[in-house]
């Protein structure tokens, strides 16, 4: 099995932990894993992405355009930005809620998540839109968006992994006091 996965969002949304959990789950299945992360200045509110590549015979940690099986958007505009990486029949799972940058507020650019979601609905055949804000509110923590999205993504079947694979490795990736909260987020039903 080979899979190319793009996680994207805004610095601080927790893409790195999500990609580590995904990698750990794939490794537990005996798959070789490679990934590339954005670390550094962009983590201060800039665009961040993780490329994850599962399977044999892979050398580059970076994904070529038009080859991603799934894009997991933590922010709808960032999912749109990464769309050139999606393969023609690829899937997108995205949070509906926009993160409005200070630059948009200042320049008077009326940036809306709805516009992004509408575009994605036209451009992508396999699309799942998640109300991340509502999910986080229901779970009582703004910090679990990454797990909610990952849980939805794995249930699409596009990752070639099962929810159980993620749950099994969860305790090895988060501190003991957060295992239960993250488990709830991964299994959260919209």
């Amino acid at each position: 099995m080979n899979r190319n996965i793009v996680l994207c969002g805004v610095g601080g949304q927790g893409t790195v932990l999500a990609s580590k959990l995904l990698a750990a789950a794939a490794m537990a299945r005996g798959l070789p894993v490679m990934s590339a992360e954005t670390i550094g200045m962009a983590q201060r509110g800039g665009c961040v992405f993780s490329n994850i590549r599962l399977g044999e015979g892979v050398h580059s940690p970076m994904i070529e355009k038009g080859t991603a099986d799934l894009i997991l958007g933590f922010e709808p505009g960032e999912a749109v930005r990464m769309l050139p990486f999606l393969k023609p029949d690829g899937a997108v799972v995205t949070n509906a809620c926009a993160v409005v940058p200070a630059s948009a507020s200042l320049s008077g650019f009326d940036y809306r998540g709805e516009t992004m979601v509408e575009y994605l609905q036209k451009a992508v055949k396999k699309l799942v839109v998640v109300d991340g804000q509502a999910a986080c509110a229901a779970l009582g923590s703004p910090r679990v968006l990454n797990m909610v999205l990952l849980g939805v993504a794995v249930r699409t079947g596009e990752l070639g992994l099962a929810l159980e694979d993620l749950l099994e490795v969860l305790p090895s990736q988060v501190r003991p006091q957060f295992v239960e909260l993250n488990r709830k987020a991964l299994t959260f039903n919209l």
Binding site: P32, A36, T38, G45, G66, V80
Partner: protein, 607 residues
């Protein structure tokens, strides 16, 4: 052996530990910081680690340990090497006992750096052998090979990964602790003929270094990190690649039809260049395309090889105009070049989206919501409004003070340079109020000599120290002002205020920037003083302390003047259908927006 999913930088750290490293010193800098952090986390009792005050100190501490026979590593980013270059250039002439690996992370793009300098070029200049890994697994192997080579020849050796290797993760085989080497340093043996650099010694050792490097050209021809992969029969084209570009080339070549596949030369030691292997590779080739980032190091070495051996192969790369001269390579760019080069008609990968996307927001990195630097910059901005000023910035999170609407960073050059630039401008424009902003870690790293220079040479300027009690941009490393070391010891904090007073700065005031009115008054008072004076804005980074009560906007009181948004640019503040909102996930309760709201419409949410 066991398998682990590990970051490139962590793999380098684990490789150093497997080599029995006794001491590792460094200064944080993206993309290198995780190397030393991982050594610190995974080390055993026999390994000493420190965040040195800067790269020069790290190099000198490591040199001393290596003189005493230890296996040592020094870690830094590429611009850090500039700071460490003074001791390193001489150290190459002296050499080391034990072993020394100089880990320098390059940053093509650049993604988080001031320059696109190439440590492979520095290796040629300084005459140090250089390893250039193309993957996480190879970085793990090469750091061990670098220790072995260093010990064999008594020379410091470069390991120079780039961002895409440093920050890549891969599941790789790591040695178990039982397989680690154990190295017992012999201790320093007095011998002034060996350890004291004099012109005579430099002359004698120079010749030895050149002879050694000539020999390494042949030795490296047999090194596993340099290798030829044969192409399809009859194909008279070749490809050369090093670093992460080699990974891109491998994936790209797998997409081309087998019958057009060119011969491939991978270079893992750009210096000394394995010339005999290159000659073997070039045999029978008409044209060669080179993939590398930053300087055309491999391309030049190939051109030299061709001239030196009277060969007749055309070399395409950066110098020939075939490849981009700046920025990082991408797998898409490599694939396109290879399609053209091999004349293969593989169709371009189709993308899912055909429609033009809607306008997307630009997302420059910004100071975090609640960042005390925002309050400090805003206080100075208000206090100096209407005056002729220059605000000299420096390297750290606070470089982001340049963004609108703060616009409080007129210059930024390198670590600690803001102080000197403020002095220079002041000598030419005496009517300008010259400010230099410097963070606490940068202050200790490279600003103190600038203060001494200012006081001694009678400059007129205001130094603003942004003290957030950590090294924030690179991931919150401790420094001399924090009272903690990387070994976990609690030590006396070095007081920035006492340092400044000791140098002779006459006015030194410390104030909390989040007390806005008081902060503005302090700036006005201190700026009016003659000579060199300093303000220390002291407030911890939001990432190292728990948040205060979150704030919200009372729509009944808000007159929608948007002053908070327009003046502060805090990412927690945004507009929703004309109404000002505060993102509850981001707000830290710093209260700066509440303090400047003209109608007192912002207050704490009492839950």
């Amino acid at each position: 052996m066991h398998k682990e999913f590990i970051m490139g930088n962590a793999a380098i750290a684990m490789g150093a530990l497997a080599s029995g490293v006794n001491l590792v010193a460094g200064y944080p800098g993206t993309p290198s910081s995780e190397v030393l952090e991982t050594v610190a986390k995974k080390r055993k009792a026999g390994t000493y680690v420190e965040w040195s005050v800067n790269e020069k100190s790290a190099m000198e501490v490591a040199a001393g340990a290596a003189y005493a026979g230890a296996r040592v590593m020094v870690t830094m980013k590429q611009v850090g090497l500039n700071v460490a270059s003074d001791p390193l250039m001489s150290l190459e002439y002296i050499g080391v006992k034990g072993a020394m690996v100089v880990l320098v992370a390059d940053d093509p793009g650049p993604i988080s750096s001031q320059t696109e300098q190439d440590t492979r070029t520095f290796a040629m200049y300084s005459k140090l052998p250089c390893f250039d890994p193309s993957s996480v697994a190879e970085a793990y192997q090469m750091v061990q090979d670098a220790f072995a080579l260093s010990e064999k020849y008594g020379t410091p050796v470069f390991l120079r990964p780039t961002t895409r290797v440093c920050h890549a993760y891969a599941s790789i085989d790591l040695k178990d602790e039982a397989e680690y080497q154990v190295h017992q340093p012999e201790g320093f043996v007095k011998d002034s003929k060996r350890w004291v650099i004099f012109p005579r010694l430099a002359f004698a050792n120079h010749a030895k270094i050149e002879a050694r490097n000539d020999g390494l050209k042949t030795e490296f021809a047999d090194y596993a990190g340099n290798r030829i992969t044969e192409g399809a029969p009859g194909v008279r084209k070749g490809v050369v690649a090093g670093g992460i570009s080699y990974a891109y080339v491998q994936d790209a070549l797998a997409k081309l039809p087998a019958e057009v596949r060119p011969r491939l030369l991978k270079i893992g030691t750009p210096f000394p260049f394995p010339e005999p292997l290159a000659c073997e590779f070039l045999k029978g080739l008409d044209e060669v395309l080179v993939f590398e980032e930053l300087d055309p190091v491999l391309e030049r070495a190939l051109l030299f090889t061709i001239g030196h051996n009277s060969l007749n192969t055309k070399i395409l790369g950066k110098l020939s105009g075939s490849q981009p001269r700046s920025g990082e390579n991408t797998i898409d760019g490599v694939l396109n070049s290879l399609r053209e080069f091999t004349g293969s008609s593989v169709p371009m990968q189709e993308c899912a989206s055909k429609e033009l996307p809607p306008q997307l927001p630009v997302r420059p990195p910004v100071l975090c919501a609640g960042c005390p630097h925002r309050a400090s910059f805003y206080a100075v901005k208000r206090a100096m409004a209407g005056k002729k000023t220059i605000f000299c910035g420096d390297i750290g999170c606070y470089t982001l003070g340049n963004a609108q609407p703060l616009d409080m960073c007129d210059t930024c050059l390198c670590m600690g340079a803001g102080l000197g630039i403020a002095q220079g401008v002041g000598h030419i424009e005496p009517d300008t109020e010259c400010f230099a902003f410097v963070g606490d870690s940068t202050f200790f790293a490279s600003a103190i000599t600038g203060v001494v220079n200012a006081v001694y040479n009678q400059a007129r300027m205001t130094l603003v120290v942004l003290d957030n009690s950590t090294t924030a941009m690179t991931g919150h490393q401790p420094h001399p002002g924090t009272g903690k070391t990387l070994m976990g010891e609690v030590v006396a904090k070095i007081s920035i205020e006492q340092v400044l007073k000791g140098i002779g700065v006459t006015v030194v005031e410390t104030v909390d920037p989040l007390e806005h009115a008081k902060a503005v008054a302090t700036v006005k008072r201190v700026a009016a003083e003659p000579g060199v004076k300093a303000i220390i804005f002291k407030s911890p980074c939001i990432a190292i302390v728990p948040p205060h009560e979150k704030h919200a906007v009372d729509d009944a009181k808000c007159v929608k003047c948007k002053r908070c948004i327009k003046e502060l640019g805090c990412p927690a503040l945004y507009l929703e259908g004309g109404a000002v909102r505060i993102d509850q996930a981001l707000c830290t309760g710093c209260t700066l927006c509440a303090q400047i709201c003209p109608t007192h419409a912002i207050g704490a949410c009492h839950e």
